[in-house]
Symmetry: C2
Subunit: 191 residues, 2 copies
Amino acid sequence: MSGHHTIAETEKAVQAKLGAVPLRREQMAAVSNIHRAATAIRQHLENSVLRTSDLTWTGFVVLWVVWIWGEMETRYVAEEAGISKGTLTGVAKTLQSRGLLERMGHPTDGRLAVLRLTPEGEELMADLFPKFNEEEVFVSDPLESSEAQSLAEMLRRMVTHLEANGEQRRLDLRGDTPLPPRRSGRRAKHG
Amino acid sequence: MSGHHTIAETEKAVQAKLGAVPLRREQMAAVSNIHRAATAIRQHLENSVLRTSDLTWTGFVVLWVVWIWGEMETRYVAEEAGISKGTLTGVAKTLQSRGLLERMGHPTDGRLAVLRLTPEGEELMADLFPKFNEEEVFVSDPLESSEAQSLAEMLRRMVTHLEANGEQRRLDLRGDTPLPPRRSGRRAKHG
DNA sequence: CACAATACTTGCGGTTCCGAACTATGTCTG
DNA sequence: CAGACATAGTTCGGAACCGCAAGTATTGTG
Protein backbone atom coordinates (compact mmCIF):
# COMPACT_ATOMS: atom_id res chain seq x y z
CA MET A 1 0.00 0.00 0.00
CA SER A 2 1.69 3.16 1.27
CA GLY A 3 -0.58 5.41 -0.76
CA HIS A 4 0.15 8.63 -2.43
CA HIS A 5 -2.41 10.28 -0.20
CA THR A 6 -3.32 9.17 3.24
CA ILE A 7 -6.93 8.74 4.16
CA ALA A 8 -6.70 11.92 6.21
CA GLU A 9 -5.38 13.90 3.26
CA THR A 10 -8.22 12.63 1.13
CA GLU A 11 -10.75 13.79 3.66
CA LYS A 12 -9.10 17.19 3.64
CA ALA A 13 -9.27 17.38 -0.15
CA VAL A 14 -12.93 16.50 0.03
CA GLN A 15 -13.43 19.34 2.45
CA ALA A 16 -11.69 21.69 0.04
CA LYS A 17 -13.65 20.52 -2.98
CA LEU A 18 -16.98 20.40 -1.25
CA GLY A 19 -16.63 23.14 1.32
CA ALA A 20 -19.57 25.06 -0.06
CA VAL A 21 -21.89 22.14 -0.72
CA PRO A 22 -24.15 21.20 2.16
CA LEU A 23 -23.19 17.60 2.80
CA ARG A 24 -23.30 15.29 5.74
CA ARG A 25 -19.68 14.65 6.34
CA GLU A 26 -19.73 12.17 9.19
CA GLN A 27 -21.85 9.78 7.19
CA MET A 28 -19.81 10.35 4.08
CA ALA A 29 -16.58 9.55 5.88
CA ALA A 30 -18.12 6.52 7.53
CA VAL A 31 -19.37 4.99 4.29
CA SER A 32 -16.25 5.86 2.38
CA ASN A 33 -14.02 4.36 5.04
CA ILE A 34 -16.06 1.19 5.19
CA HIS A 35 -15.20 0.60 1.56
CA ARG A 36 -11.60 1.62 1.92
CA ALA A 37 -11.18 -0.70 4.85
CA ALA A 38 -13.02 -3.54 3.14
CA THR A 39 -10.79 -3.27 0.07
CA ALA A 40 -7.58 -3.05 2.07
CA ILE A 41 -8.54 -5.93 4.34
CA ARG A 42 -9.66 -8.08 1.46
CA GLN A 43 -6.42 -7.49 -0.37
CA HIS A 44 -4.40 -8.34 2.68
CA LEU A 45 -6.29 -11.56 3.32
CA GLU A 46 -6.15 -12.59 -0.32
CA ASN A 47 -2.42 -12.07 -0.48
CA SER A 48 -1.65 -13.70 2.83
CA VAL A 49 -3.78 -16.72 3.70
CA LEU A 50 -6.00 -17.20 0.64
CA ARG A 51 -3.42 -17.07 -2.09
CA THR A 52 -1.44 -20.00 -0.75
CA SER A 53 -4.53 -22.20 -1.07
CA ASP A 54 -5.36 -20.75 -4.48
CA LEU A 55 -8.70 -19.49 -3.26
CA THR A 56 -10.35 -16.29 -4.35
CA TRP A 57 -12.13 -14.12 -1.85
CA THR A 58 -15.55 -15.09 -3.09
CA GLY A 59 -14.65 -18.75 -3.22
CA PHE A 60 -13.54 -18.57 0.38
CA VAL A 61 -16.67 -16.76 1.49
CA VAL A 62 -18.85 -19.40 -0.15
CA LEU A 63 -16.90 -22.19 1.51
CA TRP A 64 -17.12 -20.35 4.80
CA VAL A 65 -20.88 -19.95 4.63
CA VAL A 66 -21.44 -23.60 3.79
CA TRP A 67 -18.96 -24.65 6.44
CA ILE A 68 -20.68 -22.65 9.16
CA TRP A 69 -24.17 -23.76 8.31
CA GLY A 70 -23.48 -27.33 7.26
CA GLU A 71 -25.77 -28.12 4.36
CA MET A 72 -27.41 -25.17 2.76
CA GLU A 73 -29.72 -24.48 -0.16
CA THR A 74 -28.00 -22.53 -2.88
CA ARG A 75 -30.34 -19.56 -2.80
CA TYR A 76 -29.44 -18.93 0.85
CA VAL A 77 -25.76 -19.45 0.20
CA ALA A 78 -25.84 -16.72 -2.44
CA GLU A 79 -27.65 -14.38 -0.11
CA GLU A 80 -25.32 -14.98 2.82
CA ALA A 81 -22.26 -14.67 0.62
CA GLY A 82 -23.57 -11.41 -0.82
CA ILE A 83 -23.51 -12.54 -4.46
CA SER A 84 -26.20 -13.22 -7.03
CA LYS A 85 -27.58 -16.64 -7.79
CA GLY A 86 -25.96 -16.61 -11.19
CA THR A 87 -22.56 -15.87 -9.76
CA LEU A 88 -22.93 -18.64 -7.25
CA THR A 89 -23.54 -21.18 -9.99
CA GLY A 90 -20.16 -20.43 -11.47
CA VAL A 91 -18.30 -20.19 -8.18
CA ALA A 92 -19.79 -23.45 -6.95
CA LYS A 93 -18.72 -25.12 -10.17
CA THR A 94 -15.15 -23.99 -9.63
CA LEU A 95 -15.15 -25.21 -6.05
CA GLN A 96 -16.69 -28.52 -7.08
CA SER A 97 -14.03 -29.01 -9.73
CA ARG A 98 -11.42 -28.63 -6.98
CA GLY A 99 -13.15 -31.24 -4.89
CA LEU A 100 -14.00 -28.89 -2.04
CA LEU A 101 -17.75 -28.68 -2.46
CA GLU A 102 -20.54 -30.98 -3.54
CA ARG A 103 -24.07 -30.36 -4.64
CA MET A 104 -27.09 -32.57 -4.21
CA GLY A 105 -30.65 -32.29 -5.31
CA HIS A 106 -33.20 -31.66 -2.62
CA PRO A 107 -34.97 -34.90 -1.63
CA THR A 108 -38.53 -33.60 -1.84
CA ASP A 109 -38.44 -30.36 -3.85
CA GLY A 110 -36.92 -30.94 -7.25
CA ARG A 111 -36.24 -27.26 -7.82
CA LEU A 112 -33.79 -26.95 -4.98
CA ALA A 113 -30.11 -27.71 -4.84
CA VAL A 114 -28.15 -28.16 -1.65
CA LEU A 115 -24.45 -27.50 -1.11
CA ARG A 116 -22.15 -29.25 1.33
CA LEU A 117 -18.40 -29.39 1.89
CA THR A 118 -16.55 -32.50 0.90
CA PRO A 119 -14.19 -34.00 3.50
CA GLU A 120 -11.35 -32.23 1.67
CA GLY A 121 -13.28 -29.00 1.99
CA GLU A 122 -13.84 -29.54 5.70
CA GLU A 123 -10.18 -30.27 6.16
CA LEU A 124 -9.14 -27.18 4.23
CA MET A 125 -11.39 -24.92 6.26
CA ALA A 126 -10.30 -26.43 9.55
CA ASP A 127 -6.73 -25.65 8.55
CA LEU A 128 -7.38 -22.32 6.91
CA PHE A 129 -9.77 -20.59 9.23
CA PRO A 130 -7.45 -20.23 12.22
CA LYS A 131 -4.90 -18.62 9.92
CA PHE A 132 -7.60 -16.40 8.52
CA ASN A 133 -8.61 -15.40 12.00
CA GLU A 134 -5.02 -14.57 12.89
CA GLU A 135 -5.01 -12.04 10.09
CA GLU A 136 -8.34 -10.68 11.20
CA VAL A 137 -6.66 -10.06 14.52
CA PHE A 138 -3.74 -8.43 12.75
CA VAL A 139 -5.88 -6.01 10.79
CA SER A 140 -7.82 -5.21 13.97
CA ASP A 141 -4.63 -4.53 15.85
CA PRO A 142 -5.29 -0.80 16.23
CA LEU A 143 -8.60 -1.50 17.96
CA GLU A 144 -9.23 -2.27 21.58
CA SER A 145 -11.32 -5.36 22.07
CA SER A 146 -14.23 -3.21 23.18
CA GLU A 147 -13.80 -1.00 20.13
CA ALA A 148 -13.91 -3.98 17.82
CA GLN A 149 -17.16 -4.99 19.46
CA SER A 150 -18.59 -1.53 19.11
CA LEU A 151 -17.49 -1.38 15.48
CA ALA A 152 -19.12 -4.71 14.71
CA GLU A 153 -22.26 -3.64 16.46
CA MET A 154 -22.61 -0.40 14.53
CA LEU A 155 -22.05 -2.16 11.23
CA ARG A 156 -24.60 -4.77 12.21
CA ARG A 157 -27.13 -2.05 12.78
CA MET A 158 -26.43 -0.62 9.34
CA VAL A 159 -26.84 -4.00 7.65
CA THR A 160 -30.04 -4.73 9.53
CA HIS A 161 -31.38 -1.34 8.60
CA LEU A 162 -30.63 -1.89 4.92
CA GLU A 163 -32.17 -5.34 4.96
CA ALA A 164 -35.29 -3.96 6.54
CA ASN A 165 -35.70 -0.70 4.66
CA GLY A 166 -33.42 -0.68 1.65
CA GLU A 167 -35.84 -2.01 -0.89
CA GLN A 168 -38.61 0.35 0.13
CA ARG A 169 -36.19 3.23 0.02
CA ARG A 170 -35.13 2.36 -3.51
CA LEU A 171 -38.74 2.11 -4.55
CA ASP A 172 -39.52 5.51 -3.06
CA LEU A 173 -36.52 7.06 -4.78
CA ARG A 174 -37.47 5.74 -8.18
CA GLY A 175 -41.05 6.83 -7.88
CA ASP A 176 -42.89 5.66 -10.97
CA THR A 177 -39.91 5.57 -13.32
CA PRO A 178 -38.76 1.98 -13.63
CA LEU A 179 -35.15 1.02 -13.06
CA PRO A 180 -33.30 1.44 -16.36
CA PRO A 181 -31.80 -1.77 -17.71
CA ARG A 182 -28.09 -2.31 -17.42
CA ARG A 183 -25.99 -1.54 -20.41
CA SER A 184 -24.74 -5.07 -20.37
CA GLY A 185 -26.70 -8.25 -19.88
CA ARG A 186 -28.71 -10.70 -21.84
CA ARG A 187 -31.00 -9.29 -24.50
CA ALA A 188 -34.49 -10.38 -25.41
CA LYS A 189 -34.63 -12.79 -28.31
CA HIS A 190 -36.57 -10.33 -30.40
CA GLY A 191 -38.32 -6.96 -29.98
CA MET B 1 -32.08 -8.22 1.20
CA SER B 2 -34.17 -9.68 4.03
CA GLY B 3 -31.86 -12.63 4.49
CA HIS B 4 -32.61 -16.14 5.42
CA HIS B 5 -30.45 -15.64 8.48
CA THR B 6 -29.89 -12.41 10.26
CA ILE B 7 -26.40 -11.29 11.01
CA ALA B 8 -26.99 -12.17 14.66
CA GLU B 9 -28.06 -15.69 13.78
CA THR B 10 -24.94 -16.14 11.71
CA GLU B 11 -22.77 -15.12 14.61
CA LYS B 12 -24.57 -17.66 16.76
CA ALA B 13 -23.97 -20.41 14.19
CA VAL B 14 -20.30 -19.49 14.12
CA GLN B 15 -20.22 -19.82 17.87
CA ALA B 16 -21.77 -23.29 17.59
CA LYS B 17 -19.44 -24.44 14.84
CA LEU B 18 -16.31 -23.01 16.37
CA GLY B 19 -17.06 -23.23 20.06
CA ALA B 20 -14.02 -25.39 20.74
CA VAL B 21 -11.54 -23.56 18.53
CA PRO B 22 -9.64 -20.75 20.21
CA LEU B 23 -10.54 -17.78 18.06
CA ARG B 24 -10.70 -14.08 18.55
CA ARG B 25 -14.33 -13.37 18.12
CA GLU B 26 -14.49 -9.60 18.40
CA GLN B 27 -12.03 -9.17 15.57
CA MET B 28 -13.73 -11.85 13.51
CA ALA B 29 -17.10 -10.17 13.85
CA ALA B 30 -15.61 -6.77 13.10
CA VAL B 31 -13.91 -7.87 9.89
CA SER B 32 -16.83 -9.96 8.77
CA ASN B 33 -19.29 -7.15 9.35
CA ILE B 34 -17.12 -4.67 7.51
CA HIS B 35 -17.52 -6.79 4.40
CA ARG B 36 -21.17 -7.46 4.95
CA ALA B 37 -21.82 -3.79 5.35
CA ALA B 38 -19.65 -2.84 2.39
CA THR B 39 -21.51 -5.27 0.14
CA ALA B 40 -24.95 -4.21 1.32
CA ILE B 41 -24.13 -0.52 1.04
CA ARG B 42 -22.56 -0.91 -2.37
CA GLN B 43 -25.58 -2.76 -3.65
CA HIS B 44 -27.91 -0.13 -2.31
CA LEU B 45 -25.94 2.71 -3.87
CA GLU B 46 -25.61 0.93 -7.19
CA ASN B 47 -29.32 0.26 -7.39
CA SER B 48 -30.40 3.69 -6.23
CA VAL B 49 -28.22 6.53 -7.46
CA LEU B 50 -25.65 4.87 -9.72
CA ARG B 51 -27.87 2.75 -11.90
CA THR B 52 -29.88 5.69 -13.17
CA SER B 53 -26.68 7.20 -14.56
CA ASP B 54 -25.53 3.85 -15.88
CA LEU B 55 -22.41 3.95 -13.78
CA THR B 56 -20.76 0.94 -12.20
CA TRP B 57 -19.41 1.21 -8.70
CA THR B 58 -15.84 1.21 -9.88
CA GLY B 59 -16.57 3.74 -12.57
CA PHE B 60 -18.09 6.03 -10.00
CA VAL B 61 -15.19 5.62 -7.59
CA VAL B 62 -12.72 6.52 -10.33
CA LEU B 63 -14.73 9.58 -11.27
CA TRP B 64 -14.99 10.53 -7.62
CA VAL B 65 -11.25 10.29 -7.03
CA VAL B 66 -10.44 12.40 -10.06
CA TRP B 67 -13.17 14.86 -9.16
CA ILE B 68 -11.91 15.34 -5.63
CA TRP B 69 -8.28 15.73 -6.59
CA GLY B 70 -8.74 17.60 -9.85
CA GLU B 71 -6.07 16.30 -12.18
CA MET B 72 -4.39 13.11 -11.12
CA GLU B 73 -1.76 10.76 -12.49
CA THR B 74 -3.19 7.39 -13.37
CA ARG B 75 -1.02 5.37 -11.00
CA TYR B 76 -2.37 7.34 -8.05
CA VAL B 77 -5.93 7.10 -9.31
CA ALA B 78 -5.66 3.34 -9.36
CA GLU B 79 -4.25 3.29 -5.87
CA GLU B 80 -6.88 5.60 -4.44
CA ALA B 81 -9.65 3.72 -6.18
CA GLY B 82 -8.32 0.42 -4.87
CA ILE B 83 -7.93 -1.22 -8.28
CA SER B 84 -4.93 -2.32 -10.32
CA LYS B 85 -3.37 -0.20 -13.03
CA GLY B 86 -4.46 -2.66 -15.67
CA THR B 87 -8.06 -2.47 -14.57
CA LEU B 88 -7.90 1.30 -14.52
CA THR B 89 -6.82 1.38 -18.15
CA GLY B 90 -10.03 -0.40 -19.10
CA VAL B 91 -12.32 1.53 -16.78
CA ALA B 92 -10.85 4.84 -17.88
CA LYS B 93 -11.44 3.84 -21.48
CA THR B 94 -15.09 3.17 -20.74
CA LEU B 95 -15.47 6.52 -18.99
CA GLN B 96 -13.68 8.32 -21.81
CA SER B 97 -15.97 6.72 -24.37
CA ARG B 98 -18.90 8.20 -22.45
CA GLY B 99 -17.31 11.62 -22.51
CA LEU B 100 -16.93 11.88 -18.74
CA LEU B 101 -13.17 11.63 -18.45
CA GLU B 102 -10.19 12.74 -20.48
CA ARG B 103 -6.56 11.76 -20.42
CA MET B 104 -3.59 13.92 -21.21
CA GLY B 105 0.10 13.33 -21.32
CA HIS B 106 2.13 14.86 -18.55
CA PRO B 107 3.70 18.15 -19.71
CA THR B 108 7.24 17.40 -18.51
CA ASP B 109 7.42 13.64 -17.91
CA GLY B 110 6.38 11.82 -21.06
CA ARG B 111 5.84 8.53 -19.26
CA LEU B 112 2.97 9.80 -17.19
CA ALA B 113 -0.68 10.05 -18.04
CA VAL B 114 -3.01 12.41 -16.25
CA LEU B 115 -6.76 12.06 -15.87
CA ARG B 116 -9.25 14.87 -15.59
CA LEU B 117 -13.01 15.16 -15.75
CA THR B 118 -14.58 16.67 -18.83
CA PRO B 119 -17.14 19.43 -18.28
CA GLU B 120 -19.81 16.73 -18.70
CA GLY B 121 -18.09 14.70 -16.02
CA GLU B 122 -17.95 17.67 -13.68
CA GLU B 123 -21.59 18.33 -14.28
CA LEU B 124 -22.53 14.73 -13.67
CA MET B 125 -20.64 14.58 -10.40
CA ALA B 126 -22.04 17.90 -9.22
CA ASP B 127 -25.49 16.49 -9.83
CA LEU B 128 -24.80 12.97 -8.62
CA PHE B 129 -22.80 13.44 -5.50
CA PRO B 130 -25.46 15.17 -3.41
CA LYS B 131 -27.79 12.28 -4.23
CA PHE B 132 -25.06 9.84 -3.37
CA ASN B 133 -24.50 11.59 -0.07
CA GLU B 134 -28.22 11.44 0.69
CA GLU B 135 -28.03 7.69 0.46
CA GLU B 136 -24.92 7.65 2.59
CA VAL B 137 -27.01 9.42 5.18
CA PHE B 138 -29.78 6.89 4.70
CA VAL B 139 -27.54 3.88 5.23
CA SER B 140 -26.02 5.61 8.28
CA ASP B 141 -29.45 6.29 9.71
CA PRO B 142 -29.03 3.91 12.65
CA LEU B 143 -25.91 5.78 13.78
CA GLU B 144 -25.70 8.87 15.91
CA SER B 145 -23.54 11.52 14.36
CA SER B 146 -20.89 10.88 16.99
CA GLU B 147 -21.06 7.16 16.31
CA ALA B 148 -20.51 7.72 12.61
CA GLN B 149 -17.45 9.74 13.48
CA SER B 150 -16.16 7.09 15.79
CA LEU B 151 -16.82 4.39 13.18
CA ALA B 152 -14.94 6.35 10.52
CA GLU B 153 -12.09 6.95 12.90
CA MET B 154 -11.68 3.29 13.81
CA LEU B 155 -11.74 2.25 10.18
CA ARG B 156 -9.22 4.92 9.36
CA ARG B 157 -6.92 3.48 11.96
CA MET B 158 -7.25 0.04 10.43
CA VAL B 159 -6.49 1.29 6.94
CA THR B 160 -3.51 3.28 8.15
CA HIS B 161 -2.22 0.28 10.01
CA LEU B 162 -2.50 -1.91 6.92
CA GLU B 163 -0.83 0.67 4.74
CA ALA B 164 2.03 0.92 7.20
CA ASN B 165 2.50 -2.69 8.19
CA GLY B 166 0.61 -4.94 5.79
CA GLU B 167 3.39 -5.60 3.36
CA GLN B 168 5.90 -6.44 6.09
CA ARG B 169 3.37 -8.71 7.71
CA ARG B 170 2.80 -10.61 4.48
CA LEU B 171 6.53 -10.95 4.02
CA ASP B 172 6.93 -12.31 7.54
CA LEU B 173 4.10 -14.76 7.02
CA ARG B 174 5.58 -16.14 3.85
CA GLY B 175 9.00 -16.50 5.34
CA ASP B 176 11.33 -17.70 2.60
CA THR B 177 8.73 -19.46 0.46
CA PRO B 178 7.89 -17.16 -2.43
CA LEU B 179 4.30 -16.32 -3.20
CA PRO B 180 2.92 -19.03 -5.46
CA PRO B 181 1.92 -17.74 -8.88
CA ARG B 182 -1.73 -17.45 -9.69
CA ARG B 183 -3.29 -20.32 -11.51
CA SER B 184 -4.23 -18.01 -14.33
CA GLY B 185 -2.31 -15.27 -16.06
CA ARG B 186 -0.13 -14.71 -19.06
CA ARG B 187 2.57 -17.27 -19.57
CA ALA B 188 6.21 -16.67 -20.28
CA LYS B 189 7.05 -16.87 -23.95
CA HIS B 190 9.04 -20.04 -23.45
CA GLY B 191 9.91 -21.96 -20.32
C1' DC C 1 25.63 6.28 -25.32
C1' DA C 2 24.64 1.88 -23.09
C1' DC C 3 21.74 0.50 -19.38
C1' DA C 4 18.74 0.52 -15.70
C1' DA C 5 14.53 2.24 -13.88
C1' DT C 6 9.88 3.94 -14.35
C1' DA C 7 5.05 4.40 -16.24
C1' DC C 8 1.68 2.91 -18.82
C1' DT C 9 -0.60 -0.38 -22.17
C1' DT C 10 -1.75 -4.74 -23.97
C1' DG C 11 -2.94 -9.37 -23.78
C1' DC C 12 -3.75 -13.71 -21.50
C1' DG C 13 -6.25 -16.89 -18.70
C1' DG C 14 -9.07 -17.20 -15.35
C1' DT C 15 -12.70 -15.49 -11.96
C1' DT C 16 -16.28 -12.77 -10.56
C1' DC C 17 -20.33 -10.27 -11.16
C1' DC C 18 -25.04 -8.66 -12.40
C1' DG C 19 -29.43 -9.27 -14.18
C1' DA C 20 -32.51 -10.73 -17.75
C1' DA C 21 -33.93 -14.67 -20.30
C1' DC C 22 -34.72 -19.33 -20.05
C1' DT C 23 -35.83 -24.04 -18.12
C1' DA C 24 -37.71 -27.00 -14.87
C1' DT C 25 -40.43 -27.82 -11.14
C1' DG C 26 -43.99 -26.96 -7.80
C1' DT C 27 -48.47 -24.82 -6.39
C1' DC C 28 -52.73 -22.70 -6.75
C1' DT C 29 -57.31 -22.22 -8.82
C1' DG C 30 -61.25 -22.66 -11.60
C1' DC D 1 -56.83 -31.69 -14.03
C1' DA D 2 -55.49 -28.05 -17.10
C1' DG D 3 -53.84 -23.55 -17.33
C1' DA D 4 -51.85 -19.72 -14.77
C1' DC D 5 -48.66 -18.28 -11.71
C1' DA D 6 -44.76 -18.69 -8.66
C1' DT D 7 -40.16 -20.22 -7.41
C1' DA D 8 -35.29 -22.13 -7.96
C1' DG D 9 -31.62 -22.69 -10.55
C1' DT D 10 -28.89 -22.23 -15.03
C1' DT D 11 -27.34 -19.86 -19.05
C1' DC D 12 -25.64 -16.03 -21.30
C1' DG D 13 -24.07 -11.19 -22.65
C1' DG D 14 -21.29 -7.65 -21.31
C1' DA D 15 -18.33 -5.63 -18.21
C1' DA D 16 -15.08 -5.56 -14.40
C1' DC D 17 -11.13 -7.50 -12.24
C1' DC D 18 -6.53 -9.47 -10.99
C1' DG D 19 -1.73 -10.66 -11.56
C1' DC D 20 1.58 -11.32 -14.43
C1' DA D 21 4.48 -11.03 -18.64
C1' DA D 22 5.69 -8.65 -22.36
C1' DG D 23 5.90 -4.50 -25.10
C1' DT D 24 6.49 0.64 -25.80
C1' DA D 25 8.10 4.88 -24.57
C1' DT D 26 10.55 7.97 -21.69
C1' DT D 27 13.64 9.41 -18.16
C1' DG D 28 17.64 9.14 -15.31
C1' DT D 29 22.48 7.68 -14.64
C1' DG D 30 27.21 6.29 -15.07
